[in-house]
């Protein structure tokens, strides 16, 4: 069984929901990332979304754009991110890692080359924000062959027929974007999210994660009551930005936010 499936199965047995933090690899410097990942797992994270820095993160807001710029200022490339995953795996063989980024960094390596290296490093899934299902037939085939889940986004504006196609092509989990906007946007409407998730449910048994607009314990808790996973990014990346000049504090400070959300979700 894949680590992602295994993780959701364990959570279901325990009656808990997945807490899925996102951080950008190499932000604010490469040495921070692996200790930060371990610390987040210790604080209660179930799956890790690791952002691959890209110069033009079009679907992200200013918070993650700046995180990419900090990471790129140290030259964090996709291959460096894979090295970080491999290093993380030396002491954690259980927590799933999903890479999240933009297609161009993967295209440059070549799909096959990327898949082989990513699998060897211990990557479990990939979410390429700018690769919708219509354009991803080759991509899915190569990733499937390497046993890497291809995770897709669904949006409030996604119509029924596309929900169906995304559910057929994706694996691992579905990432539901809770609101119209970029990452780091305003508050979300939990009732509207619940309604849409019901619609998605009719097409798949895959776990449904919800991201965008989750910024505190209360919103994490609210979302955990309607979804299988709570994805949180900008609020963590913001904290990292505030601590960019004191990087040794980042693992502990970010973990505090995770621990708070964990407690709220499990209460």
């Amino acid at each position: 069984m894949s680590r992602i499936k295994d993780c959701f199965a364990r959570l279901e047995t325990a009656g808990r929901k997945a807490l899925i933090p996102y951080v950008t690899a190499g932000d604010p410097s490469p040495a921070v990332t692996v200790p930060l990942l371990h610390a987040m797992v210790e604080a209660g994270a179930d799956i890790l979304e690791l952002g691959v820095p890209f110069s033009d993160p079009m679907a992200d807001g200013p918070v993650i754009q700046l995180a990419c710029e900090r990471a790129l200022s140290h030259g964090t490339r996709l291959l460096d991110v894979l090295d970080m995953v491999a290093e993380f795996r030396t002491t954690d063989s259980q927590t799933p890692i999903v890479l999240m980024g933009y297609l161009n960094t993967v295209e440059v390596l070549g799909y096959g080359n990327f898949a082989t290296r990513a699998k060897a490093a211990g990557v479990d899934g990939i979410l390429t924000v700018d690769l919708p299902p219509e354009e991803s037939d080759d991509f899915i085939e190569v990733m499937r062959a390497a046993d890497i889940d291809v995770i897709y986004l669904l949006a409030p504006t996604t119509d029924e027929s596309r929900i169906k196609s995304v559910c057929e092509k994706g694996s691992g989990y579905i990432y539901y974007v809770s609101l119209k906007g970029v990452t780091g946007s305003a508050a979300l409407d939990v009732a509207a999210v619940e309604e849409k998730l019901k619609q998605v449910r009719r097409h798949t048994d895959m776990p449904l994660g919800v991201g965008f607009g989750i910024r505190d314990d209360a919103s994490a808790r609210a979302v955990s009551q309607v979804a299988d996973g709570v994805i949180v990014g900008s609020v963590l990346v913001n904290r990292i930005a505030e601590l960019a000049t004191q990087p040794q504090q980042i693992p502990e400070q970010v973990s505090r936010i995770i621990a708070g959300m964990r407690a709220a979700m499990d209460a």
Binding site: F54, E69, N104, P132, T157, K180, G181
Partner: protein, 406 residues
């Protein structure tokens, strides 16, 4: 050169998923797919609609001032030697560039879709001005994203946009130029998609933009083709146009695709020279990748990060290019070359002094290459150069290179 059948096939592109060969497509986040599908449906129904076409043609005639002249630059041709040079005078359009052909068309779509707000990205500011202009005319709210570097370079156009009632948002992220303005405009669109229409200014971006921008700009090539037949009695031997994103070039080239004897030259910004690495010439020196919603030639590093570009002209300072150009290059139907900053500046001065026509720095790249090309041709041959915009906006750039503060 492709065969007749291959040329006919090129004319039919893109396919229904927006592909030009391996290029184009729709590489965007799920959050934008719905909006692009809406736009595609609306546009496909409007392009078949004679009433919409009539409205567009009427605006082009009475608001833009079309047809634009095809001017035989006799003195320039004589002094330069070789082929006759004809200038397609897009600089004489209302607002001073070809950009308005597209903004008129897209604003009509926005109106049909009932969107009260339009947004645009701009480099040189010509597309921003053209968007602000149509917004003023139709009473739409208009927000223009512009890299802060370009805000500085193109102060005149920034003020023009403000006078027209638009809000200009300076973009400070990334390289602070056109590509970053496009990122910000996409972010705005995804956030305000219910109320907002995004007028992309070049023939790039996710499907259907490369197609619809091309369709609106094709008026340039259709007129130039007919004017060549009327004024010279035959089709030109060559077409020359500058290529940033490539909207003026595709507008000129596309109606000539099946005229296999007409050679096409797209001129990219060579900056300090291709060898310097400081340029904006993805077709000449880049490779295929994915950016801004389409697969096309890009300037990128070994890790797939987009490189910063350099050109003296803000409108060409872009690391990608429209996907149809990428395919015209690979199929061999069009050739892509470059002109450096210095060559463009020299052409700016030459055209100004010899013909009394002051071209935009973007268009000066096309003029620079046409002058070189003409000298390799016979006097009885002729070249149509797309003079895509006028140079008033660039006077302070040229003056400051002369050490003069205007």
């Amino acid at each position: 050169m492709p065969t007749k059948a291959e040329l006919a096939a090129l004319m039919q592109l893109p396919d229904d998923r927006g592909h030009f060969g391996p290029y184009g497509g729709r590489f965007v986040s799920e959050t934008l797919i719905g909006a692009l599908q809406d736009l595609e449906r609306t546009y496909e129904s409007l392009r078949q609609d004679p009433e919409f076409q009539a409205e567009f043609d009427k605006d082009l005639a009475h608001y833009v001032g079309r047809p634009s002249p095809l001017y035989h630059a006799e003195r320039l041709s004589r002094e330069n030697g070789g082929a006759q040079i004809y200038l397609k005078r897009e600089d004489l359009n209302h607002t001073g560039a070809h950009k308005v052909n597209n903004t008129i068309g897209q604003a009509l779509i926005a109106k049909k879709m009932g969107k009260p707000r339009i947004i645009a990205e701009t480099g040189a500011g010509q597309h921003g001005v053209a968007s602000a202009t149509v917004a003023a005319r139709l009473g739409l709210e208009c927000v223009v994203y512009m890299g802060i570097e370009d805000v500085r370079r193109q102060a005149l156009n920034v003020y023009r946009m403000k006078l027209l009632g638009a809000t200009v948002v300076p973009v400070e992220s990334g390289t602070r130029t056109l590509k970053d303005a496009m990122n910000e405009a996409m972010r705005d669109w995804v956030t305000n998609v219910d109320t907002t229409y995004y007028i992309i200014g070049t023939a790039a971006g996710p499907h259907p933009y490369p197609k619809l921008v091309r369709d609106f700009q094709c008026i340039i090539g259709r007129e130039a083709r007919q004017q060549s037949l009327d004024q010279v009695g035959r089709l030109p031997d060559a077409l020359v146009a500058c290529v940033g994103g490539g909207s003026n070039a595709i507008g000129l080239f596309h109606p000539f695709i099946e005229d296999g004897d007409v050679r096409m030259y797209g001129v990219e910004a060579g900056g300090y020279g291709i060898a310097s690495g400081q340029h904006a010439a993805p077709l000449s020196a880049g490779r295929p990748g994915v950016l801004h919603g389409n697969r096309t030639y890009l300037m990128e590093d070994d890790a797939g990060q987009i490189l910063s570009t350099h050109s003296v002209s803000a409108g060409l300072d872009y690391p990608g290019v429209g996907p149809e150009h990428a395919w015209l290059k690979d199929t061999g139907r069009a050739e892509y070359v470059d002109a450096t900053d210095d060559e463009a500046l020299a052409a700016f001065r030459t055209l100004t002094r010899v013909e009394g026509i002051m071209p935009a720095l973007e268009s000066s790249h096309a003029v620079a290459y046409a002058l070189k090309l003409a000298r390799t041709m016979r006097e009885d041959q002729f070249i149509v150069v797309n003079l895509s915009g006028r140079g008033d906006k660039d006077i302070h750039t040229v003056a400051s290179l002369d050490g003069i503060d205007v």
